[in-house]
Every structure is written in structure tokens, then in C-alpha cells.
Amino acid sequence: MAKLQPAAVKQITEIVERYKNEPTPTMMILEDIQKEYGYIPLEVQELVSDLTGVPVSDIYGVVTFYSFFSMTPKGKYVIGVCLGTACYVKGSQLVLDKFGELLGIKPGQTTEDGLFTLDVLRCIGACAVAPAVSINGKVYPQVKVDNVKNIIAEYRAKEA
């Protein structure tokens, strides 16, 4: 297994330290790590286990239970397509399929250039503007299949 960089060990230790007075800190620690690094590989889970005494299997169970956590690195832009009821009946499945087709990835995967990750969301509270797509927190309302190409182009242009 790959060894963690000393800087990462230091930072994760600091994150764990933040919650040392919490009776059940696992979720909070994992949330901070997810936000900081975008993913929580097994090496990091082992480190958190060593620091907190919570068994690796428990931590792994939490990471695989909540779709918020990821064990693979996310792309620079995380495209979340809402498949909640309102968005779904407004055709968001087709929008999701189009993103997948144009990016060449399935939901949960990241493009090879590390730019885009495609995720499925379950209701983001934007039902009034269904179907909704959220990219790094920015919500795109009433997305149609035909808009998908332009949305991707908008982000590709930023990188050009």
C-alpha cells in the first residue's frame, strides 16, 4: 500500500485533533477529510483508525454507506445530476445519460484528464427549477439534453 506523504499525515492528524472531545467523531473527521482532499483512500482510513482507535472496518463501513464520501479522487469539476422525484419526472435521467455519453464515463467515475466527475444526486431542494444540475455547488436550472454540450464546453473553455 502506498505510503502517505508526511504533510498529509500531519494535516489529517490535525483534523482528528479538532474533534478529540467529541464522543463519536468519525463522521466529522471524515467529512473534513473529504472536503479537504476530495476522497478518502484506505491508507487514510487506516491512519484515522490508528489515531482514533475506531476499527478500520467501522470507518470503511461509514465511507461506503454514505454516497457523500468517495474512495477515488474526484475531478476538478463535480457534475451532480439530480435524480430526485421532481427532476426525474422532468427528464433528468436523459440529462445524466447525455453527460455520460459526452464525457465517456459512467456515474461515479472521473474523466481521464481528471477534469470531470459525474455524480448522481438525490434531491438538492431545487425542485422548482427541475431538472437541476449542480456543478461544484453552482446550480443549473431546467437543464435540457441540448444544453449539456454547452455546459461542458463552458468548463473546458475555462481550462483552455
Binding site: 500500500m1 484506505l42 482510513q45 487506516e46 476499527p55 478500520v56 472496518s57 467501522d58 470503511y60 463501513g61 461506503t64 454507506f65
Partner: protein, 588 residues
């Protein structure tokens, strides 16, 4: 103990207020089926939903395994509403279960089957998808078949409670949920001790020992001289497999059965235990008097414990006795001394160990000692062999082990099978060697019993020696942390992997109370002591109580090994350890 008045099915009862509804009902004579509860009918997860009952005034049905009794509570266990709900829970579990019961290795001991019978499960009530199946047969000790798993979580609880490590956990969610080492790995690629405590509590065949019965069959077919040796703890439990009460002595009948199975010699690993004491006590004295290696010395008989130390405290390997475990030593001696004395080519000898343990299977496969033992069967596997051969246990006479070079054993060897036994045996011999006289009262009762950590201080001609005994890695951890911190006051520490020692090993007969109608209600509290009493009484019955007084051992040293710690003894009876074991190697 406060009592509360409750009613069950209209009848008034007084029960202890600390009980759950499930426990209280059991005490009052109502069996409520349950699958996830295992610790006195207590359960932390209430995940199986099989133990549902009606409680008057409660909203909906309640899971009786987690619901505490209250004053005035009225419980109805047998209403149609409750029995239908329990049946539905079981049928839902069965809908995602492999259901090949005829060929299942757990056949005859399956709690799910028993519960299905009890609730009257109907044929294929719910038919649908099955969760993707994983079968892990990589680890030598234990195997996992996820298609038989009912997600009760008992194994997770047991691993955590006994060892504080919890190799197994729930993964994913919903229909994809599995119980597994992380990333659905093999036990072999995780820091699993392969102790088999999880196997002991699994209600189905999802977790089993990795059977080696076929290996033994092959050896017989190939015409090998198949020599069998049985561990001390096996005799304390084997009779349970044939319907006898827990705590029944099985030694004589077991020997008779093994002889009828056609083994070339039937030996007792107690001989190896005596040999271990000779080497281990010698090593201890060398450490104390010549400071050749650090103190405290840690015992090395329990391969699950060795796994724990290698994975979690590799820096303490210098403290670990270099002695092989008794059956490995005895295997090495069988293939050298015994073979030479009888002019047999060691290649023609096939040594089978009958062990209360699944980790012994792993141990026999270690690269440090690849040829000592050819197959390891658990107590449960031996029972299967006897049943397969149609040998009637009740009709067997009591017979004696073969007396042929490795025949004699002392009372000290017998008690290896229970926590504190190795310590007691070692002290009897170390005392004699340090003082030139036998320890007067023989029994070191301070190190007996099932407390987390037992300690004793021995005054040997003015020198005080402190020793400690522990079992279960959650308990051992405290002592290990003390050694690491340099604050340990002990010279010698006995550690056994399984709580209570080998009598409670992961290869012993299942103690599933629902399948043991003749045992007392509190059998989960008492089975360890009952099995231990078999060993202590056998110790008391032996004329020779100290390993160094075993005449076959004396002859082995005189004719073959020389002295304890000699070059040949080092080669045959000692081993090395691995400080570089990766907990989660990339290879899954």
C-alpha cells in the same frame, strides 16, 4: 437485583429488571426465535427482526432482544400478528440466502434452519434478486461465503469484543450490504488473526473453518503412515458433538474413535506441551539470568496471538518466546526422532493435528515451518469424520493414547488448553530448575479463572518474579502497551488469543443455546468453566504433574535432543517471526 412484575401471554411472572424481553421470556419458558442476538439474548443491532413480539401499549411490534422489561409490562409472544411478522422476517432473510442446506458445511448446526422450522417458513415466499456472491477460500484458517450471510452482525460484535480489532464490518448499503473485511477482501489480505471466534457465533454457514478433511483422506489413499495428535482442549469439548452435556470428559472415547478411523498412531499433543515447557522455561531462565533477550517473555503457543503481535505490535517480537507451539514441535519431533527410531522415511509420515483452533491451520502453513504438520482438523471436523465413519460414540470404550516414545504426558501438559495453564505448567518447571526442588503445592491457583488479567508474584529463593496471564486481544493490549512504555513489571506473560484459552477456541463445538435444549439457560456464562474443569480434573488425576518429570521427555533429551536449548532443539523446536506483515496489502 430488582424484580419487576410482568405478564407473558396472560400469565404473571416476576423477573429481574435488567433483562430484555427476549431473556425474560426464555426464563419463563417461552422461546422467541432470534438470529442476531447472541450474548445472553442481548443484541446491539436488532438487525434480523426475527424476535418480534407484541407489548401492550407499544407502537407496533417490538424487537424483544433490545427491549427491556418494565414493571407491569404485558407481553404477547404468540399472537397471530407476532408469529406472522416473525415468519415474514425469516422468509425475507431466506429470499436472499443460498439455501443449499443439504450440502452446507453447517448442516446440523444451523440456527437459521432451526428458526425457519420454528416460525414455519413457507417455500420460496419471496422470490427476487440475490446479492452478488463472494466466496473467500484463500485464508488457510477460515472461509467466508457471503451468499449464506444473513447480515446479523454477530461476527462483527465478537471480533470487537474479544480482540478490539473488528476485522469484519458492514460495507455498502441497502441491497448491496455485505459483511466482510474492508473492500470485500480475503481474510488473508487483512490483519485477521484467523482465530475463528467469528465462526463460533455465525448462525449460518457464512463463516466456517477451512476444511482439510479431504487432505487427510488423500493421505490415507496414498498409503501414508497417518499419525494423529490431539490438543488438550479437544477432549474437553468433543463429547458435545455427540449430544453429551458441556463439560463431559471425551478423552478415552476420542482415542478409541481415532484408532477405529485407522490412524497409524494416536498421540497426545500434551507431550508436545511438556516439550514446550522444557524449552520455554529454559528460555525464560536464560532471559532472567543471562539477559539474552528482553523481559517480559511472552508465550508463543497461540497462533492467533502471534498474528496479533506481528500485525499490531511488531516491535515486541523480541519479547516473544521463540518456541514453536506444542503441536508444531511435536510434528517436528515425530518426523525426526520418532521416524528415526522406527526407521521410517519422514516423507511417508503424514501428521494430522486435531485442534480446537482455526488459526492452527494458518500456523501449519507458515513459511517458517512448512513441513512440521501436514493437516489440521478442528474439533468439529473430527466429529464429522467420526460421524461419517458411522462410529457410535456411546458404544465406544475408553482407550489410552499410544505409548510409543511420544506417549507419556504430565498434568502440566493437559492444562495448556485453558487460560493460565501454560503459565502454571511453566512455573512448576521453572521453580524446580531455579531452586532444585518441586513447588510444594503444585497448583498455582492465582492464574486460574477467566478474569481479563490475572497476576501472581512468585518468591523463588528470595527473587520475586511477577507474572501475568491474559486472553482475548482486547485484554492483552493493556499489557502490551505497558511493555512498550517500559512500565511492565512482569517477567513472564501468558497470552492466549481466544477469551478463556483454547477450550473456547474457534474450532470447538458451537455453543448455540437454541440448538442445545438440554443445557441450562445460563450456558453461555458457564460453558468455559465447564470445559476447563475437564482439563483441571485430568491434571489432578495424573501421577506426574510436571513437564520435566515426564519420562518420555527425559528420554527424548537423553537420546536425541541433548539439553533444552541445544542446537538440535533450536532447530526443531524454535521458530522465527515476521515483523513486516502488511495489514492491508494492495493485493486484495
Amino acid at each position: 437485583m430488582a424484580l419487576v412484575n410482568i405478564k407473558i401471554n396472560g400469565q404473571p411472572y416476576q423477573v429481574d429488571s435488567s433483562l430484555t424481553v427476549l431473556e425474560a421470556a426464555r426464563k419463563c419458558g417461552y422461546e422467541i426465535p432470534s438470529l442476531c442476538a447472541f450474548n445472553h439474548g442481548k443484541c446491539s443491532k436488532a438487525s434480523c427482526r426475527v424476535c418480534l413480539v407484541e407489548v401492550v401499549g407499544a407502537r407496533g411490534l417490538v424487537a424483544s432482544c433490545v427491549y427491556p422489561v418494565n414493571e407491569g409490562m404485558e407481553i404477547i409472544t404468540n399472537s397471530v400478528k407476532a408469529t406472522e411478522a416473525r415468519r415474514a422476517s425469516v422468509e425475507l432473510i431466506l429470499s436472499n440466502h443460498e439455501k443449499n442446506c443439504l450440502q452446507c458445511p453447517k448442516n446440523g448446526h444451523c440456527e437459521l434452519l432451526k428458526v425457519a422450522e420454528m416460525v414455519g417458513a413457507r417455500d420460496q415466499k419471496y422470490v427476487g434478486q440475490q446479492t452478488e456472491k463472494t466466496v473467500d477460500e484463500v485464508a488457510p484458517g477460515i472461509i467466508r461465503n457471503s451468499a449464506k450471510c444473513i447480515l446479523c452482525g454477530r461476527c462483527i460484535e465478537r471480533c470487537k469484543e474479544a480482540h478490539g480489532i473488528s476485522i469484519l464490518g458492514f460495507e455498502n448499503r441497502g441491497f448491496k450490504t455485505i459483511v466482510s473485511p474492508v473492500q470485500n477482501r480475503s481474510f488473508a489480505n487483512s490483519p485477521c488473526l484467523q482465530c475463528g471466534q467469528c465462526v463460533n457465533v455465525c448462525p449460518t454457514g457464512a463463516l466456517m473453518e477451512h476444511s482439510e478433511i479431504e487432505k487427510v483422506d488423500e493421505a490415507f489413499k496414498a498409503g501414508k503412515k497417518v499419525i494423529v495428535q490431539t490438543a488438550p482442549a479437544v477432549r474437553a469439548a468433543i463429547a458435545e458433538e455427540f449430544g453429551e452435556k458441556i463439560g463431559t470428559v471425551g478423552t478415552g472415547k476420542m482415542v478409541a474413535a481415532l484408532r477405529r478411523l485407522g490412524f497409524y498412531r494416536v498421540f497426545d499433543v500434551n507431550f508436545g506441551a511438556d516439550l514446550t515447557i522444557m524449552e520455554e522455561a529454559h528460555e525464560l531462565i536464560e532471559r532472567i539470568t543471562k539477559k539474552v533477550a528482553p523481559l517480559p517473555q511472552l508465550t508463543s503457543c497461540s497462533p492467533g496471538w502471534i498474528n496479533y503481535l506481528e500485525y499490531f505490535y511488531p516491535e515486541l517480537i523480541p519479547n516473544l518466546s521463540t518456541c514453536k507451539s506444542p503441536h508444531m514441535m511435536q510434528g517436528a519431533i515425530t518426523k525426526s526422532y520418532f521416524a528415526k527410531s522406527h526407521d521410517i522415511d519422514p516423507k511417508d509420515i503424514f501428521v494430522v493435528s486435531i485442534m480446537p483452533c482455526t488459526a492452527k491451520k494458518y500456523e501449519a502453513s507458515r513459511k517458517e515451518m512448512p513441513n512440521d504438520i501436514d493437516a489440521v482438523l478442528t474439533t468439529r471436523e473430527l466429529a464429522k469424520l467420526i460421524k461419517r465413519a458411522g462410529i457410535k460414540w456411546d458404544k465406544l470404550p475408553d482407550e489410552e493414547f499410544d505409548q510409543d516414545l511420544l506417549g507419556e504426558y504430565s498434568g502440566a501438559g493437559v492444562i495448556f488448553g485453558v487460560t493460565g495453564g501454560v503459565m502454571e505448567a511453566a512455573l512448576r518447571t521453572a521453580y524446580f530448575w531455579l531452586t532444585g526442588e518441586e513447588y510444594g503445592k503444585i497448583n498455582f491457583t492465582e492464574v486460574r479463572g477467566f478474569e481479563a488479567v490475572k497476576e501472581a508474584t512468585l518468591n523463588i529463593k528470595g527473587t520475586e518474579i511477577s507474572v501475568a496471564v491474559t486472553s482475548g486481544m482486547a485484554n492483552a493490549k493493556k499489557l502490551l502497551d505497558e511493555i512498550k512504555a517500559g512500565t511492565s513489571k512482569y517477567a513472564f506473560i501468558e497470552v492466549m488469543c481466544c477469551p478463556g484459552g483454547c477450550i473456547n477456541g474457534g474450532g470447538q463445538p458451537y455453543v448455540h443455546p437454541a440448538l442445545l435444549p438440554n443445557e441450562d439457560d445460563d450456558i453461555l456464562d458457564t460453558y468455559k468453566a465447564k470445559r476447563a474443569s475437564v482439563l483441571y480434573s485430568e491434571d489432578e488425576r495424573q501421577v506426574i504433574r510436571q513437564s520435566h518429570n515426564n519420562r518420555d521427555i527425559q528420554k527424548l533429551y537423553k537420546d536425541f535432543l541433548g539439553e533444552p536449548g541445544s542446537e538440535l532443539a533450536e532447530e526443531l523446536c524454535h521458530t522465527t517471526y515476521n515483523a513486516n506483515r502488511e495489514k492491508y496489502p494492495d493485493n486484495k
